[in-house]
């Protein structure tokens, strides 16, 4: 009797205790997916599912699946009905948003990823200049899987310091946080190749405007301390000098007057001239380069900040910074003040080295 009970218990246990398996090679993975605008307030959801080949880890091709529907979960169900292996979203590493959809807001799409315990918080988001599906259809990477290519493209550029880091977590951070607005890298398809063309700025979760590549570099300097990146400056005689950034420091300061806050941004850039079009620059001319450079950066920077104030967006997180320096900070009041906020930008450039040659 006793033995029978245990046998029954073990049977019950094995019958109900098992959980659904997700064997890695028996599911359809996707590393990149895209969201696009579709008529009737629907979304078009595209995934690029990698097709692996036995014993050839080098050659992976992609299969594109795209469907229109109202929610991405539902679309995944519909896709499942056309696939021999069920979809597993756990490996998703890059989400692309079509520009039109981004303008309408991406909060709903993000919430799915944030709510999913299987999803990474470190996945990259990007806005596509055009349609995400079209980008995924293009054959932009020959030797690598598309998702891996896009992931590596964004990852290496973030690590190299060319574009400011913005992943799912940080997007949500600045989207939900008070006194800041998110931004995302802007991808563009040019001659069948993908390139990062600038930054897409958001107001809350809605895409508003974009920055070009030069503005993006300055934006990166204003967002934090950077150790990489090159800048170009035109001299009076029309020649160009390139300066390699070997370490920049940015410092924000709030004026003591709490009624009418004044934000001072000071940027110190240590540079190294490497490329001056072959012409030898005498020592005396260095000061000129520096002056020119400082003026250039200040002008671009001030333009940027004016633009942000005009649009009422705060990708630099000035509001959050002021909050951390003021007691009893109020978001409503700040939004009113922001358009007329007094921001000054001081740039100081030091040229330290000139490479190995005089």
């Amino acid at each position: 009797m006793n033995r029978l009970f245990y046998v029954l218990l073990v049977c019950c246990f094995l019958l109900t205790g098992c959980v659904e398996q997700q064997i890695l090679d028996k599911v359809t993975l996707f590393i990149v997916c895209g969201f696009d605008e579709a008529p009737n307030d629907q979304i078009e959801f595209t995934i690029a599912a990698p097709k692996f080949q036995a014993r050839k880890p080098g050659s992976v091709s992609d299969q594109l699946h795209a469907r229109v529907g109202r929610t991405s979960t539902n679309i995944q169900e519909i896709m499942d009905m056309r696939l021999n292996r069920p979809i597993n979203s756990g490996r998703l590493s890059v989400i692309l948003f079509g520009k039109e959809l981004a303008a309408k807001g991406v909060a709903n799409e993000l919430d799915v990823a944030l709510r999913d315990a299987q999803a990474s918080r470190r996945m990259y988001l990007a806005v596509v200049d055009g349609k995400a599906r079209e980008m995924l259809q293009a054959n932009f990477s020959s030797d690598e899987e598309k998702g891996m290519f896009l992931f590596n493209l964004l990852d290496t550029n973030v690590r190299a310091g060319l574009i400011p880091r913005q992943n799912l977590h940080e997007f949500e951070y600045s989207f939900l946080g008070k006194g800041m607005d998110p931004f995302l890298p802007l991808l563009k398809l040019e001659d069948g190749k993908v390139l990062i063309s600038g930054l897409a700025l958001f107001k809350d979760d809605k895409y508003v405007m974009s920055l070009d590549e030069k503005q993006m570099r300055l934006m990166k300097l204003l967002l934090g301390n950077v150790k990489h990146g090159a800048f170009e400056v035109t001299l009076d005689d029309g020649s160009f000098v390139a300066v390699e950034n070997v370490g920049s420091k940015v410092n924000y300061r709030v004026g003591q007057n709490t009624k009418n806050p004044k934000v001072t941004i000071s940027l110190i850039l240590n540079g190294e001239t490497l490329d001056s079009r072959g012409t030898r620059r005498p020592k005396q001319e260095q000061q000129k380069i520096i002056d020119r450079f400082e003026n250039d950066l200040t002008a671009t920077g001030m333009d940027l900040i004016q633009m942000f104030k005009k649009e009422g967006i705060d990708p630099l997180g000035l509001g959050d910074f002021v909050r951390s320096k003021t007691r009893k900070w109020n978001e409503e009041e700040w939004k009113k003040e922001y358009r007329t906020l007094n921001v000054t930008l001081n740039v100081k450039v030091n040229l330290l080295e000139m490479g190995v040659r005089e």
Binding site: T16, E20, L176, G177, D320
Partner: protein, 362 residues
């Protein structure tokens, strides 16, 4: 009245540190950061320190009560409140410990269901864990303390959070003292529940070799617990802003999503699976304490009571359906804990003082 156990079963005083720390630092640390940060924002760490200090006083009171009577609470109760009153109070503690065990187990299973296997049934996991608990508790108090000691390995997963340093926003810590004292105290009140666990001292007292010397270890345990919660709170503040936190149910597990190693893309699976190190020590101690109280109250064999209590916990766990109900149990428990710490222990302490005073005058 001196009643210590046979020297073969007693433990070195330093194990009090291990025991109290693992009892205090339970799975509720996963959610501990939420409410205090909602209430006190960047000043929540002050609440943690405040709460830590209060628990130091509680530990001191517990040791005064125990040292003066030289026995555990199970024997003190009938001594103070008579056979029936004391027995009733002992019974309350049995129920309390069983409730804590059920809550912890259900919370753990819930985390597994949300983070690892959405289609996992409650009862098979509960069964396996309770069988494991039976095996450990049947080994005696020495083995329970050993499991608590082994569970200290979990601090490695906490330390792994330093790998998230790239995402820290130090802005979130200032301005300091932007919240009213009222808010900070309210936040501290929310932290009482995570800090609970010092009541274990009442029950393991007789199993310590030189109980008087173990007080410093109990205080040290509280210090380490406070430090652990400080780390938890600081990481939450630095990684998330309060708007994000209000949307996260288990921010501590979400934090593991930022950890990355060359081989391991995601750490949250390891983080979630390692939760077992938080829950098993508490389960073991709760069942040991309740079955031991049973044994002393009704003079029955502990090994016959234990399976029955395990079965009770098992049914209770299977009857708690999901998130909402578990939250209700947590609210109930934190209320019980609140009264135990701020009303019951001081009350016993005062009764104890009065008793000694009266006896001295007589």
């Amino acid at each position: 009245m001196k009643s210590t156990e046979h020297p073969r079963f007693t433990l070195s005083p330093y194990l009090v540190f291990v025991l109290i720390h693992s009892m205090q630092f339970g799975s509720e640390y996963l959610t501990a950061a939420n409410k205090p940060i909602q209430l006190a924002g960047q000043d929540a760490w002050i609440s943690v320190i405040l709460c830590g200090i209060i628990f130091h006083i509680v530990i001191w009171m517990i040791y005064r009560i125990l040292n003066r009577n030289e026995t555990d609470l199970i024997h003190i109760h009938p001594l103070f409140f008579g056979k029936w009153g004391g027995g009733g109070l002992n019974f309350v503690f049995i129920v309390y410990f069983l409730l804590v065990a059920s809550y912890q187990l259900r919370l753990f299973i819930e985390i597994m269901q949300v983070w690892l296997f959405p289609d996992l049934e409650t009862w098979p996991l509960a069964l396996v864990l309770l069988v494991l608990v039976y095996y450990i508790v049947a080994g005696g108090f020495r083995v329970i303390a050993g499991i608590c000691m082994f569970s200290l390995v979990r601090h490695i997963t906490i330390m792994s959070l330093f790998f998230t340093a790239g995402y820290f926003h130090f802005n979130n810590l200032s301005p300091i003292l932007d919240h009213s004292l009222n808010d900070i105290i309210k936040a501290g009140n929310e932290l009482t529940f995570p800090f609970l666990g010092v009541e274990a001292l009442f029950f393991c007292y007789t199993f310590i070799k030189t109980p008087e010397k173990s007080q410093k270890w109990a205080h040290l345990a509280n210090v380490v617990t406070t430090a652990s919660y400080l780390i938890v709170i600081f990481f939450s503040l630095l990684l998330f802003n309060s708007e994000q936190l209000s949307k996260e149910i288990w921010p501590q597990l979400s934090k593991y999503k930022f950890v990355q190693f060359p081989f391991i893309e995601r750490f949250e699976f390891i983080g979630a699976a390692s939760q077992i190190l938080w829950v098993i020590p508490i389960l073991c101690f709760c069942l040991w304490a309740s079955s031991r109280t049973f044994k002393i109250m009704f003079t029955v064999r502990q090994s016959t009571v234990l399976p029955m209590l395990l079965f009770l916990v098992f049914t209770a766990v299977c009857l708690i359906p999901g998130r909402d109900r578990n939250e209700a149990v947590q609210t109930l428990l934190s209320e019980i804990g609140f009264y135990m710490v701020y009303a019951y222990i001081p009350f016993v302490y005062i009764v104890d003082i009065i008793r000694t005073k009266v006896r001295r005058t007589v």
